[in-house]
Symmetry: D2
Subunit: 258 residues, 4 copies
C-alpha cells in the first residue's frame, strides 16, 4: 500500500477524511481534480462532518475558483478555517521540494501552517481571498504557454533558416530571456520528443480559463489567444496527452515550401 | 573628443578607415546603422581602398543580411577576410562586457580574433556563412518580443483580476520561466515607466524582419505575428521611441469594462 | 400600452403565460434574455403549469444551449412539444420581416408552425436536436465578427495608405466579397459613428461562446480568436455599448507613426 | 496561334512592343508578372523606344508599386503618358467581363481610355497617383483573405459541432454577410476540393505585402496577421499551388480530440 513507507517513518493512517479531521487541528488535502476535491469534503465521512471551530482544512489541489469557493463556504459555515493552496511547478520541482505554494483564504490559518509549507515547497505566498490562488496559477500558466509557443516558433525559424537549433539554445541561454524551461525542454523539442511532464490538454485548459478570466475583466490578450489556438490545433492533431511542448508540431510544417 | 580617454590609455587614432586598415592586420568596425556600415567600407578613404590579402575586417554593427553580404563580397573580391559579428544584448550588458557575439563569415578570421572577442563579450559563436549572424539575432529578438507581450498580458491580467502585480513578479521569478528580462523590466512596467534601453520601433522592425524570414521559409508563427501587431499598435499610439516594454500600454485599457 | 395596437387588429391579451398556454395549441415566446426565458416557463403562472400533451411551446429568444435544454426537458417531461427558434438578423431585418429562423427540437411541431414562421421571417431552417439553433447562431455571428474586423482593418489600411475610404467601399461592393454589412456599416464607420444595432458587448459574448464551442471540439480558430481579442480591446476602451462596428476604433491609431 | 481568332475578328498583330507603340496612340499591356511587365517596357524593341509626347501606355498587369513607379518614370521622362490599371477579380469575372479596373497615374489618359475600360470591365476607378492601383488591390485582397479564413473556421466549427455545413451556407447566404465568394467556394471547400482559381501562394504574397504596407503606416491588423499565418501554415503543408480556399485544410484537424 502507498502509505506503508510513510507509516514506517512515523505517520498514522486515517480511516476517512472525517476521522482525520477529528484527530487533527489542521488537515491538508491534495486531490487529483475538482471532483475528488469536492468528494473528500462533501461525501459521507467527509471533511464537513467533523470540521468546526478551531480546526483548519487546507486544499492544495489544483481546482477552479468555483470549486474552491464552494468548499470554502461549506467549511466556514461550520466555523472551520479554510485555505486553498495550489502549487506552481510540475513533476520535477515537486520531487525536489521546489514547488511554489499559492495560498489564499484565511490568513490566520496560513500563518499557522507556514512551517509546514516551508517544508513542502521552496516558497509560499498568501494572495488574499479564496480564489486568488487559483487565479494566480492561471496567470502564471498562461504566460508560460505563450512563452512556450514563442520558443517553438524561434526553434523552427532557426532551423528552416539554416541555423543550428542547438546553437540557438546556447545563445538564448546567455541572454535576457534565459530561463529553466528553455534549458529543460529545448533539447527534447529539437528531437521531437514530448514525454508528458505537463500534458498539453491541461495547459490548453489553463489557457482557456485564463482567457475567460481576461474576458470577464476586459483584458485584451492577443498573444495568449494565438498561443491558445496553437494548443487547440495540437489537440486537433491528437497531441493532447503529450507534453505541452508538443505544440512544436503545429509550427513544424510537413513540406518546406509552396 | 570621444577618443581622448582611449588615447591616454595607449590607443592611437587613425585618420580614416583606409589609414587604419593600412596600419592593422585586423580592423573592427561597429557602426550605428546599415548606411554608416556601408559608408565606412565603400566611401573615399574607406576600408576597400586598403583591404587585401592578409588583412581582415570585422563588422560588429547590427545590419541586415544584404548589407553584410554586400560588404563581404567587396572585401573578399579584394582578397581580404570578412566577418560579420553583431552582438546580442542591449545597453546594460554592453557596459558590463556581457554581450554575446554572433559571428559569421570567414572561419579562419574568427579563430584569429577570438581572443579579442573574449574581452569584448562574455561568449562568442561562429555561425557559418555571412548572413547567419544577422539571422540569429533576428530569431533571438523575435522570441524576446513575443515573450515580452506574454509577460505584459500576464501583468495586466493579474492586476485586473485583483492580484498583486509585484507578487506575480515574485512567483514568476521562482518558476520555470524565470528570466532576467522579467526581473529587469517588470518593476518599471508596473509603474508605466519605459525609458528606452531598446526602442520599441527597433524591436518591431526586428519582428517584421523575422516574420519576413519566416515567410521566405514557410514557417507559420502566429504568436510572433500577434506580438508584432501589438508592437505596431504601440507605434500607432506614438510609443515607438520608448522602450519596447511600452507595448504594455496596448494591453492596459482605459476603462475597466463595457 | 404596447399591446393596444395589436388588440385593435384583433389580438387578445392573456393574463399570464399559463393562461395563454391553456387557451392556445401553440404558443410563441420571444424574451430578452435567458433569465426572462426561464422565468416565463418556470415561475408561478408560467408555461409549465398548463403545458401538456397536444400543446407546443416555441421559444424564439436568443439563449444559450443550456437554457434551451432546461426548458426543453421541463416541457417534454410534461408531455408538451418544444422548439427553440432563435433568429438571425438584427433590428432592420426584424422590421422588414427579413429574419432567418433557426429552429431545433421537435420536428413535428416545426412543421405545424411553419406557416407562422413564413410570416415572421423570410426563411426558416430545421436544424435537429434542441441546442442546434443556438449553435448555428453562434457560428454565424462568429464569422460575422471576424469579417467585421477584416473590413475595419481594410478601411484603416486604405485611409492610412492614401486611398479614399469611400472608393474602397465602392470597389469592395463590386467584388467577390460584396455583402450587405459592408454596404450598411461602411459609411458610418468612416464617420466613426457607431449607433448600436447590435451592441459590441453582445457580439463579443457570442464570439467567446463560439470559441468555447470550438474549444470543446478542438477546432483551431486563430482568426476568430484575434477578432475576439480586438472586441475585448474595444470593451477595455469602454465601447461595449456601441455598435459592434466600433471595433474600428481599436484599429485606428491616435498618431500616425512612431 | 493564340492571336489567330482575334485577327479573324479584325485585330492586327504587332511585331514588337515598340512597333505597336509606334502604330498606336494608346497601348494596353497585360503581362503575367513584374519581370514581364518590365521587360516589355525596357528591353530592346520595347515600349520605351517609341513612346513619347501624345502617346499613352496602360499597364493592366498586377505588379507591385515599385515596378509601376519605375515604368511610370521611364515613360513620363520620354514625354509619354502612363496609367497603371490592375484589375480586381479572378478567372470567372475575367471571362464574364466583370472585372473591376483600378487605374492610377495620368488622369487625362484615364479619361481618354475610359470607353475601352467600359468594354473590358464592369466598372473602373481612377485612384490618384501611380501606385494607388496596386495598393487598392492589396487592400481588397487582404480583406478577402481574412474573410476566407473566417468562413473556413465557421465551416469547420459547424461541422465539428454537429451542424450541417450546407445548411450553414444556406443560412449565411440569407444574412448580413452573404457574398459571392461564400456561394462560389463554400460547396467545393466542404468537399475539400481546391482547384486553383487564385493560387494560395499568390494570396499569401498579397497578404504579406498588405501587412508590409500596414507596417509602413503603423496600422495594427491582428486579424489579417492571423489569417496570413494560416496561409503560411498552408504553404508549409505544401498547399501553395492550390486555390487559396485550401487554407481550409489548416483548420480541419486530423483527429477529433485530445
Amino acid at each position: 500500500m502507498q502509505c506503508d513507507e510513510l507509516v514506517e517513518h512515523g505517520a498514522s493512517v486515517g480511516e476517512s477524511p472525517a476521522a482525520i479531521i477529528k484527530k487533527c487541528k489542521y488537515t491538508i488535502g491534495m486531490l487529483s481534480d475538482p471532483a475528488a476535491a469536492l468528494s473528500v469534503v462533501f461525501d459521507k465521512d467527509g471533511v464537513l462532518e467533523q470540521i468546526g471551530p478551531g480546526k483548519g482544512y487546507i486544499d492544495m489541489s489544483t481546482v477552479d475558483a468555483e470549486t474552491s469557493s464552494k468548499i470554502s463556504e461549506a467549511i466556514t459555515s461550520k466555523g472551520g478555517y479554510f485555505l486553498e493552496a495550489p502549487v506552481s511547478g510540475s513533476k520535477k520541482p515537486a520531487e525536489d521540494g521546489q514547488l511554489v505554494i499559492l495560498a489564499a483564504g484565511e490568513k490566520a490559518l496560513y500563518e499557522e501552517v507556514l512551517p509546514a509549507f516551508d517544508v513542502l515547497g521552496k516558497k509560499s505566498f498568501f494572495l488574499g481571498p479564496v480564489g486568488n490562488g487559483a487565479k494566480m496559477k492561471l496567470v502564471v500558466n498562461m504566460v508560460m504557454g505563450s512563452v512556450m509557443n514563442a520558443f517553438s516558433e524561434g526553434l523552427v525559424l532557426a532551423d528552416k533558416s539554416g541555423l543550428n537549433s542547438q546553437t540557438l539554445l546556447d545563445v538564448l541561454d546567455l541572454g535576457a530571456i534565459a530561463n529553466p524551461m528553455f534549458k529543460l525542454k529545448g533539447p527534447s523539442m529539437i528531437q521531437s520528443s514530448y514525454s508528458p511532464a505537463f500534458p498539453l490538454k491541461h495547459q490548453q485548459k489553463d489557457m482557456r480559463l485564463a482567457l475567460a478570466l481576461g474576458d470577464e475583466n476586459a483584458v485584451p490578450m492577443p498573444v495568449a489567444a494565438a498561443a491558445n489556438e496553437a494548443f487547440k490545433k495540437a489537440r486537433s492533431m491528437g497531441l493532447g496527452d503529450l507534453d505541452f511542448s508538443a505544440v512544436h508540431e503545429t509550427v513544424k510544417g510537413s513540406k518546406s515550401s509552396g
